[in-house]
Symmetry: C2
Subunit: 345 residues, 2 copies
């Protein structure tokens, strides 16, 4: 199938997005893919498939490639006397800000470009971990207790040590610290506040099991990946997660009872329905004392969590054919007409 992969973005996860795109090029080898790179200054470039290498971008070679603009229905390459349009379904593969905060979703919506990825409201609830907690409380999914701290209002933390300090709105463990005692707190807060004005404080849970489950809605039903127990030390730091983003080999199922798989799916379903349609997302769960807790929603997981699916290419094809269609309201001038008639004008 034809697909446009949109990657890059003005994001701390810019490099991760490049790695994801390169991984999907390999994984979706039989697709006809157009690669569009969004540079950190928000210029779009058309990248030839054979130039899809990390060094193309780190060396700035992409700047010599054709620039694209976005217009109704697709991306456009304008030449002196002609223009070429790229109007495939877009896979939004921009991780972090731009891609996951609703910016790219809204841009594609505004220009009526069909895309695989979270819609604007889904982005709000997954990008900011504070809002993920709001969602969990509202839909009856359990999550880890938390406190919120804003940059200008340092307050006393109630959670007993050890605690985890997280910027509210970043993935890939960026700016995250485990704080074992108070003497380490100020430094951890400084690090987190470098990335976000809002920080979440959670208890560090000993003995927690972590399971990742991906899925999507297509052809009228939910489709789930296998559940994976990610390798971890205390937690994956950025560099390890970064390597993680280039994964393309299918992983082994976690050793889980059927009942537990069902519970993970039930929680996944509650999160996904009526919010994430159009996206393939990964939910990272904790299991502690036989309780399932949602840790994080990845609405654009690294390399689309391809390694969790038996037939990833089919997943993308099915999803591309099941995208929600944005209704654009029909505009009339009935009221203006009726008022001007009443005024006799």
């Amino acid at each position: 199938m034809k697909l446009t992969i949109l990657f890059g973005g003005a994001s701390f996860e810019h490099e991760i997005s490049i790695v994801s795109a390169i991984t999907l090029k390999e994984k979706l080898g039989n697709f006809d893919i157009t690669f569009i790179f969004c540079d950190s200054d928000h210029t779009f470039y058309l990248i030839e498939p054979e130039k899809m290498k990390a060094l193309t971008f780190s060396k700035g070679e992409h700047k010599k490639m054709p620039r694209l603009t976005v217009d109704q229905g697709g991306f456009v390459q304008k030449n002196m006397f002609s223009k070429t349009e790229y109007n495939n379904v877009v896979l939004n593969l921009i991780h972090g800000s731009d891609g996951e905060d609703g910016t790219i979703a809204a841009l594609l919506d505004f220009y009526s470009i069909k895309y695989i990825g979270p819609r604007v409201d889904a982005c709000t609830f997954s990008y900011d971990k504070r809002y993920t907690k709001y969602l969990c409380d509202a839909i009856g999914v359990k999550s880890v207790k938390y406190e919120v701290m804003h940059k200008d209002e340092h307050c006393n933390i109630q959670t007993p040590y050890p605690i985890i300090i997280k910027p509210a709105s970043l993935g890939s463990s960026i700016g995250v610290s485990i704080v074992k005692e108070e003497s380490e707190l100020d430094y951890a807060l400084d690090v987190a506040f470098e990335f976000d004005d809002t920080v979440l404080i959670e208890p560090f849970l000993e003995g927690v099991k972590e399971y990742n489950l991906a899925g999507y809605f297509a052809k009228g039903e939910m489709h789930y990946s296998i559940a994976e127990e990610p390798h971890k030390e205390e937690f994956l730091d950025f560099e390890k997660k970064y390597m993680d983003f280039s994964r393309s080999e299918q992983v082994l199922k976690a050793q889980l009872s059927e009942e537990m798989v069902l519970r993970l799916r039930t929680n996944f379903d509650k999160v996904y329905r009526n919010l994430f349609e159009g996206a393939l997302i990964r939910c990272d769960f904790f299991v502690l004392n036989d309780e399932v807790l949602l840790n994080e929603i990845n609405p654009i997981p690294g390399s689309m969590a391809n390694y969790l699916f038996e037939d990833f290419a089919t997943a993308i094809e099915d999803l591309a054919q099941s995208l929600p269609h944005a209704k654009r309201p029909k505009v009339t001038y009935d009221y203006i007409h009726s008022i001007s008639q009443a005024k006799g004008k």
Copy 2:
């Protein structure tokens, strides 16, 4: 001051936005205003101030006016050999979808255009009334109890009659019905589902008082309008609200105790802080049995609730100078460089 007013949009409130813009032209007479109209097909037009009349749009005369595109830093009028840039601060005056659902906010963010109006996450929590409830629960602001119904899953309603049926995501009373008994229910649901796939059901509260309060954060502090008790019959229908959008005369303060004004402001503040910065919003409260309940957040109120402010022009000027600056993350290629060095490439 110089200001661009962006209005129109692909929205059921398209006409209301036109009326709002015409009202602000009058109200901000000493401003140097550029009017940019977003047509329902998402084409932008530059409208000469003297053409700012309702009939210009209902007759389609705007289509003969200069087309603009959006680019980094502003709107652009391209001619054969030159281009004119319009890069004032934008006042987002598009009510309903596009303007209040995060689309325009994201578009302006993406192109680094400064604007007065709600940011993307603020839009999510105000555009969909269901998410306003999530917000209220999370921040400790009381609101009216509710049930949710999705288009494809009609279910038994628990709330006793009389009830109000509302599309989750529309303002201006569009698609809203009061249902007094079960025989009226199906029709009311059909009407509401015409506008949205999600519908809220609330008890119709007898003897409720309604108060509207607007405000914004600028120059380091919150600024509040007077509180108004809106005229109402059972509730304002679309046509009455529509006329309401052209209001420009300052209204009288509601007869409220100082203590009640303070309670309204405290609730307003909880809703606004760390979410609505950059916007002038109006919160519509209910007071019932001495309890303050948030009914609705209007993140882009009709004609910007100018009639609630003593000095509306100064409010807009101050707000324009206190806009949140979107941090665009600095992109580096450190990891790609370190990995390619490790590989010896």
